[in-house]
């Protein structure tokens, strides 16, 4: 494994391109065959991950699309291609699911393993929708390992009420249920990975920005 020869860094970091909404018509472009099947339903170890995407009025959104990215059951970060043309055997760790008319999405996947000893296992999520000007990032944590959840840096930085929004429920069939609320009392915690964290992009409220 050779390290890439460093490209000279630009004097000041380049400003990222702004995002835009996916609009209502991604439905003929982004979905593809078996996009929500990280592995075939019924495969050993497979589970169903499901939920509903809601707006601020509590109505299900019929035109959202989710992407997940996760380690395998052993906690390994998979670096395999073949997510768009799945061979039925290779676990690539990535999936995409458009919600249906009732706002429900479904993935077939495996329980992610923790990527480090004692760590909390989670699935990383990107949310897109008509009306949503930029993608949102969040996480789905497995509910079982309470000690790991208590020690998780992100979860422990949240108050208990908000923390709940990131932890999935275990279904009787072994699957996971996890809903997304874009707005409202149980609003899902969405994440900002920016280096400086100074811009409040959620509200665009200039008063909350740190001009430093």
């Amino acid at each position: 494994m050779s390290t890439l020869t460093p490209t000279p860094l630009t004097p000041t970091p380049l400003t990222p391109t702004p995002g835009q909404t996916v609009g209502p018509f991604y439905g003929y472009a982004l979905p593809f065959s078996k996009d929500n099947e990280l592995l075939a339903p019924g495969s050993p170890g497979s589970i169903r991950l499901q939920g509903t995407v809601y707006d601020g009025a509590g109505h299900a959104i019929p035109d959202a699309i989710l992407e997940i990215w996760q380690p395998d059951a052993g906690g390994n970060i998979v670096r395999r291609t073949g997510s768009l043309v799945r061979d039925g055997y290779t676990f690539t760790g990535w999936g995409r699911a458009a919600v249906g008319n009732t706002g429900v999405y479904t993935f077939t996947t495996v329980n992610p393993g923790p990527t480090k000893p004692g760590g909390a296992a989670f699935i990383s999520v990107a949310v897109f929708a008509r009306g949503l000007m930029n993608r949102l990032f969040t996480r789905i944590y497995l509910p079982e390992n309470e000690e790991a959840l208590a020690n998780d840096p992100l979860l422990s930085s949240l108050d208990p009420e908000r923390r709940r929004t990131l932890i999935a429920r275990r279904d009787p069939d072994g699957g996971l249920s996890w809903d997304i609320r874009l707005q409202g009392g149980d609003e899902t915690v969405f994440l900002d990975f920016q280096q400086d964290g100074s811009l409040d992009l959620a509200t665009g409220d200039l008063a909350t920005e740190n001009p430093a």
């Binding site: 472009a29 990215w69 073949g82 990527t115 930029n134 280096q195 509200t203």
Partner: protein
């Protein structure tokens, strides 16, 4: 901010873009607000931003998630600040794509059917770079767009403009070692939508990009220079900063223009910076995927 009732109506109506072709003959479910109403709202937000910028505020480089002139954002934007998190393990890597995922011919949207699509053939090319100027190689770029008449091949698009049997409007490619991408397509038309009465979207191509990290994921839209609809469009205007808006507008490039063939537009995409030490063989995913 409109009444709640209006919001609800727009939420359900906007799925179907305005289908009323005759001015002054608006259908009963037409949006309640006019372009003049919307332009006034856009103008007020723009003026407030200009005042803030003249004070101590930093420029806003991304769209506002809460931008009421785009009615659908009203119930779909988080009301709480995004929670700062340091990306961990899985988030420091991007899903891998390779040439088994995408065929080279998928970058030409004009050859996917039996005949030539109608409209102005164009070439759109550029580079995907990260915030430190490094090329983002071996990653998936997906595009989708309306046809030359401004119509999508989507069951919810009932805009009474012709469908083109030779144009689907979907393309994909994998970025080259220098982060480059290139599509051949048809210039999309403007189209009406139901945000407000007489709402029209500027011509645009939707772009989806991955980076070297999951946190660099972006979906955006590329616009064409000089579009007279820019000041009227609440989606474009949701980016309140002019410099930031300009980053979504492609540049006409005569060097890229093909003689007797197609006009060329250049548009580069900058993803956020990478936090992880990057190795050469990651650029193309599995080594075995490259021939």
């Amino acid at each position: 901010m409109p009444q709640d009732q209006t919001v609800q109506q727009l939420e359900s109506d906007e799925l179907v873009p305005a289908a009323e072709p005759h001015a002054g003959h608006a259908s009963s479910d037409a949006a309640a607000h006019t372009q003049a109403d919307l332009s006034a709202e856009i103008g007020a937000l723009s003026a407030a931003y200009a005042r803030a910028l003249a004070g101590v505020a930093a420029p806003e480089t991304q769209p506002r998630l809460d931008y009421a002139p785009y009615r659908s954002s009203i119930l779909r934007h988080p009301t709480k600040s995004l929670h700062h998190a340091d990306p961990e393990t899985i988030e420091l890597y991007s899903p891998a794509f390779g040439h088994q995922d995408v065929h080279a011919l998928e970058a030409d949207l004009t050859i996917q059917h039996n005949g030539e699509p109608v409209g102005e053939r164009i070439i759109v090319a550029g580079k995907v770079l990260d915030g430190d100027g490094r090329p983002v190689a071996g990653q998936l770029v997906e595009i989708w767009q309306a046809n030359a008449a401004g119509r999508y091949i989507h069951k919810r698009d009932q805009h009474p403009a012709p469908l083109d049997p030779n144009f689907t409007g979907v393309g994909r490619c994998i970025t080259g070692p220098d982060g480059s991408y290139r599509f051949t397509t048809i210039k999309p038309g403007a189209y009406p939508w139901k945000n407000h009465l007489n709402a029209w979207r500027p011509a645009h191509i939707h772009f989806s990009m991955f980076g070297t990290e999951f946190t660099q994921r972006i979906v955006t839209q590329m616009y064409f220079p000089g579009d007279q609809l820019f000041p009227l469009d609440p989606i474009y205007q949701s980016i309140v900063d002019q410099d930031a808006r300009d980053r979504l507008v492609a540049r006409y490039d005569h060097e890229l223009t093909g003689p007797e063939w197609a006009l060329g537009y250049t548009w580069d995409i900058i993803l956020s910076g990478s936090r992880r030490t990057w190795t050469e063989n990651e650029a193309f995913g599995d080594a075995g995927d490259e021939e």
